[in-house]
Structure formats: structure tokens, C-alpha cells
């Protein structure tokens, strides 16, 4: 559009006139951001040079239009005080008056010298508040369960089933894909090693124990922590931002009962099912790779599996699933409810929720390994 007129050079903004031995700098044209933008550096330099001359008359009456950018440009060139001789139109007076009493920007509060210590202390305190917060949340949930046991009509079935669908059924695809690929890779690498010793048939033992006891539950838990944990935290966080949580509170519906409990129960049910699913698909992938690499028949693999893997391993995997599922939901809800109504907090809350959930899932796995070290291994 030709509507925006860009003066070809900075000299289009003023002209110098001298009459009766008085030199006058007449500013012309539009002093607005759109017109000035291209010429700001040159104009600042030129005006600063003119401002050095004390006896120069500044004539602003011929300016067509001046906005705050133009005013600030002149003000900076004049070194933040009016020049001795300044000719203004009455309507320009107002804006120059404003810039005259411009307050200084308050200094941001400085860090004190003890900041490493205080930062460490606040970290420790934060950890403490998270711990107590989680314990309070668990206690609240237990109280809710007690209440619901006596008021069974109040059990939030719909929410539980919605969570079961969202965290369980909708996660089937991704857990299957990851499980299948891990199964193939594990089987392929192990069978290469086993072939060297001629211990081909032990592939069933390796895959059976490692997948059913460790990999299946862990893969499912880590995927669910990333997938459902983050969405739960973000959902609660957005509900805080849009004041939906406050609306629930004033209706007398406790958050823990309607939002947290269904998620914890839902994921507590969905997780062991996902564990079975992931383990089964991973074993399928392993079986496929074993057949291709070692020529081990499917019939042999399936018939040998129950003999070499004690059933306790399956129960262990399911147990891990239940514990991990409930923990992930708890952590996600804990962080979600702590989100403050701003975008920064939403992002930070979701990140720490997922990181914490994955870390805790791995810690739980380690604890299971220690506690059940003599269970299910021949």
C-alpha cells in the first residue's frame, strides 16, 4: 500500500533556517513510529549534534503529527531537558509536559549475598512441602474412600470409567508399538549371544523373565507417566486457570473426591491391564525374532514359557502395575493442584510432574527388586 509514506532520508524531517542572525531548526513532516522507524539511529545522532548548540531555536509548529515515539526521540536527543528556545503548538504542550515528569524505572530487587544458601534452603523446603502435600493428599483420599464406602451412591463411576478409557484403552496403540519393537530388539540381540554358546533354547527364559518381570511393567509405566500423567497435570492446571476448581469448591464438591480419586482408581485398574498387554505384545515380538534368528518354532516357545517362568513373575508385574499406576496418578494430581493461574506455572508444573513420576516409577521398580529378590526366580 502506498499509504505509508517513507521519507527517503533523514533530512526530510527537518530544515535549517536562519533569519536575523538566529538559526532555527524547523521540524517538518510526521513524527510517528511508522515514518521514523527506518531513520531512528541517524535522526538521534543528528538531533543530538544540534542539541549541543545552545542558541538554536527548535521550531515544532510545522510538525504534522507527533506521537510518543517522536517525543521520546527528541527528548533523548535533548538529553532529557527542554532546550533553551523551544516553539511548540498548544496541542503539543500536553505530551511534552508528560514526558517532562517521567518517573525513573524502579530498580529490580537485588539478590542478597546469601543466595546460594537460601536457594538450597528453599529447595529443601520445597521438597518438604511436596512430601507433606502428597501425604495429605493420600490421607484425604483414604478419608474419601471411607466416606464413599458408606455412601455408595456417591461413587463417581462415570469419571472412573472415563479415566479408564482415556488412560487405558487409548494407550493400547502406543504401548503395543513400543513393546513390540523392544521385544524384537531384545530377542534379536540375545539370540545372537546365545547362538555363540549353542544355548538357543534359553531365549525363552531370558525373554520370559525379563519382559514379564521387568520390561513390560516398566515400559508401560514410563509411557503412561509421560502420556497420561502430563495430561492429568495439565488438565487440573487449566481447570485452575479457568477457575473451574473454584467453581467445584463453591458447589461443595471436594476436588479429591471428584477429580483425584477417579484418576487414581482409574489408572490403578488400567495400569495392570496395560502391563499384561505390553508384556504380551513384547513377547510376541520376541517370539517372532527368535523364530527368524534361531528358527525356534512358535509352538515350542509358547509351550516352554510356563515351564521356565514361574507364575509369581506375572503377579509381580501386575503388582508393580497397580502401584505404579496409582502413584503416577497421585503425583500428576498433586502437581496439577499446585499449579498457579499463569502459563509459566502450568509449563513448570507439567514438567516436574512427568519427571517426578518417571523417577518415582523407577525407584518403585528398584524397591520391588529388593523386596521380592527371592520370589519367582528359579
Amino acid at each position: 500500500m502506498s499509504a505509508i509514506y517513507h521519507p527517503p532520508s533523514s533530512s526530510a524531517f527537518y530544515r535549517l533556517a536562519s533569519e536575523n542572525g538566529l538559526s532555527r531548526l524547523i521540524l517538518i513532516g510526521a513524527y510517528t513510529l511508522t515514518t521514523l522507524e527506518q531513520h531512528l539511529p541517524t535522526l538521534t545522532a543528528e538531533f543530538s549534534a544540534y542539541a549541543q548548540k545552545k542558541e538554536l531555536y527548535w521550531d515544532l509548529t510545522e510538525i504534522e503529527q507527533i506521537d510518543t515515539t517522536g517525543v521520546v526521540l527528541l527528548w533523548q536527543a535533548w538529553n532529557k531537558k527542554r532546550p533553551e528556545y523551544l516553539i511548540l503548538r498548544p496541542d503539543q504542550e500536553n505530551i511534552f509536559k508528560r514526558v517532562n515528569k517521567l518517573p525513573a524505572l524502579p530498580k529490580p530487587t537485588r539478590h542478597d549475598l546469601w543466595w546460594p544458601l537460601t536457594a538450597l534452603g528453599s529447595r529443601a523446603l520445597l521438597l518438604w512441602t511436596h512430601l507433606t502435600g502428597l501425604i495429605i493428599l493420600i490421607g484425604q483420599l483414604l478419608l474419601d474412600i471411607k466416606y464413599l464406602a458408606t455412601h455408595p451412591t456417591r461413587i463417581p463411576w462415570r469419571e472412573i470409567s472415563a479415566n479408564l478409557y482415556r488412560t487405558g484403552a487409548q494407550a493400547l496403540g502406543i504401548t503395543a508399538l513400543v513393546g513390540f519393537l523392544i521385544g524384537i530388539v531384545l530377542s534379536y540381540l540375545s539370540s545372537q549371544q546365545l547362538q555363540m554358546f549353542g544355548a538357543d533354547i534359553f531365549i525363552v527364559n531370558i525373554l520370559g523373565i525379563s519382559i514379564i518381570r521387568e520390561l513390560g511393567p516398566m515400559l508401560a509405566a514410563i509411557l503412561v507417566a509421560g502420556r497420561s500423567g502430563s495430561s492429568m497435570t495439565a488438565q487440573l492446571g487449566v481447570m485452575r486457570v479457568t477457575q473451574e476448581l473454584d467453581a467445584l469448591t463453591v458447589m461443595g464438591i471436594p476436588h479429591s473426591q471428584r477429580l483425584v480419586l477417579p484418576k487414581v482408581i482409574g489408572l490403578g485398574i488400567a495400569m495392570p491391564l496395560l502391563v499384561i498387554w505390553t508384556s504380551a505384545i513384547a513377547l510376541l515380538g520376541g517370539m517372532l525374532a527368535a523364530q527368524l534368528q534361531l528358527g525356534l518354532s512358535y509352538q515350542y516357545f509358547i509351550s516352554a514359557l510356563p515351564n521356565v517362568v514361574p507364575i509369581a513373575n506375572l503377579w509381580l508385574g501386575l503388582g508393580k502395575g497397580i502401584v505404579c499406576g496409582m502413584t503416577i496418578a497421585l503425583i500428576a494430581c498433586h502437581f496439577g493442584l499446585r499449579i498457579k493461574p499463569n502459563t509459566e506455572s502450568l509449563g513448570a508444573g507439567t514438567t516436574s510432574s512427568v519427571v517426578t513420576a518417571i523417577t518415582v516409577v523407577i525407584i518403585i521398580d528398584a524397591l520391588f527388586a529388593i523386596v521380592f529378590s527371592d520370589v519367582g526366580l528359579m
Binding site: A3, L40, T69, Q76, N94, L102, L105, P106, T343
Partner: protein, 271 residues
Amino acid sequence: MTLIGDDQNTQYNNVQDCIIEVKGLHTQFGENVVHQDLNLCVHNGEVLALVGGSGSGKTTLLRQMLGLETPVHGTVKVFGCSRFDCDYNLLKSIRIRSGVLFQSGALFSALSVYDNVAFPLRELHSLNESMIRDLVMLKLAMVAIDTKHANKMPADLSGGMIKRVALARALALDPELLFLDEPTAGLDPELSESFVELILTLRTEMKFTIIMVTHDLSTLSTLSDRIAVLADQHVVAIGNLKEVCDHQHPFIQSFFKAAHSQTKLAKIVRR
């Protein structure tokens, strides 16, 4: 103003003084027709208020003027060109020349008050930091925000202050065109009156065109030059307060009946 106005007239001569021109606009959400053959012209330098019942498409129209939504049929021209068929540089210059005050402020919650107002200025990449500082402080002074609030975060501000900081941000680039979406919604009468006063004073100082959506009758009467009433999917009446009041459309009658009861309230209070 006349001098500049005339100057700009010649620039927009093809649209006859329309800074925003809406022609044959048709908007539809699913089965729901919001606008049908809607025509509107916003004159240069005026304050135009958009009025209408809820669901009449005021905010949608505003969003289409801002280029946030694409109309199904028809054109919305701002500064004489449509947002959807002009090149990038032109679009950028349109965006720089218009400021928006969103209904709930839409301040960036990750940035402080100062940085919020400085953000559009910094994005130009042509102003130095000391100029930006002076401009921001000037804008904050204009909207009567004390300097001690400059380093606060939006979450620590009250509703009225959020509106004023948002206005300061909308004014940051000295726009010629200002969009106000419910400028006084959620403010108490005293605050909303001072907000209207503020916009009035700024208008005399900075000379811009304002398009606003409002339900508040006192804002409507004190601030607007013309009122456009949206009903039945198009503009049923446009003109100054008196002309619009005299219109016989049922929506206008009931809308200003409420106004009538408000003056009644004023009478009671006076008594």
C-alpha cells in the same frame, strides 16, 4: 486533525474515508448463521461502538477485523486492504498500526508489567533500550499505573490494573486504530468511569480511531461518536446515540429500555 484527516483521505480515497470497510460479510459456524450480508464502514478518527445481544456476532466481527477469523464470504478491509490477500510486509504494518485491548487483558503472564508493555516495542528491533524504557514509562504514566508496579507480574495485579496495563500495551506502538473488547466489563462503576475518562483524554492527545464492543450504557454514551447495532445477522441501525435510540427495532427498544431504567436509578439516587 483536519489537516491530517484530509491527508489520510487522499490516501484512502478509494474507500471514502473508511479506515475499516466490511462488505457483504457472511459468517457461519456449522448451521448457525452469525452474519448475513453485513456492511459496515468505520470512519477515520471516530469512536464506533458495536452493540448487540449475546450471540449477535459482535466479538466475531471484531475478531474478523483483527484477522483472527476468516469470513466465509465478503471482505473485511483494514486501511484499505484485506488481511487475507496482501503481502507480509503490508500485513505487518497493519498490525503495527493497530492496537487491541482484549476483554480479559491477555497480558503475557510470564512477563512483568514493564516487559509486557516493552514487548511490542522490542519486537520492532529498531528502538534502542533507553528509548524503549522512556516509551514504556510514558505509556504506564498515561494509563495511571504507578512506577512501583512496573516490576510486578500480571498475576499480582487487580482486575482494573490488568485492564490499564493491557491498554498501555495496546498503545505501545502509538496505533492509529484501537480495538477495545468490552473495555469496562468487570470494573466497578467508579473504575469504569475513570477508565472511560482515561480513554477520552488519550483520544485528545493521540488521535486515534476506536472500535469497541460494549454493553455498558454509560461507556456507550460518553465515549462513542456512532453506534452500530447488530441484530438479525446484520447492522440494523447505525448513527449517534439519539438516532439509534429513535429506531423502532425491537432489540434496540428493549436495550435502551434498560438504559431508561438506569437513568431512573440515577434519579432515585439523586433524590
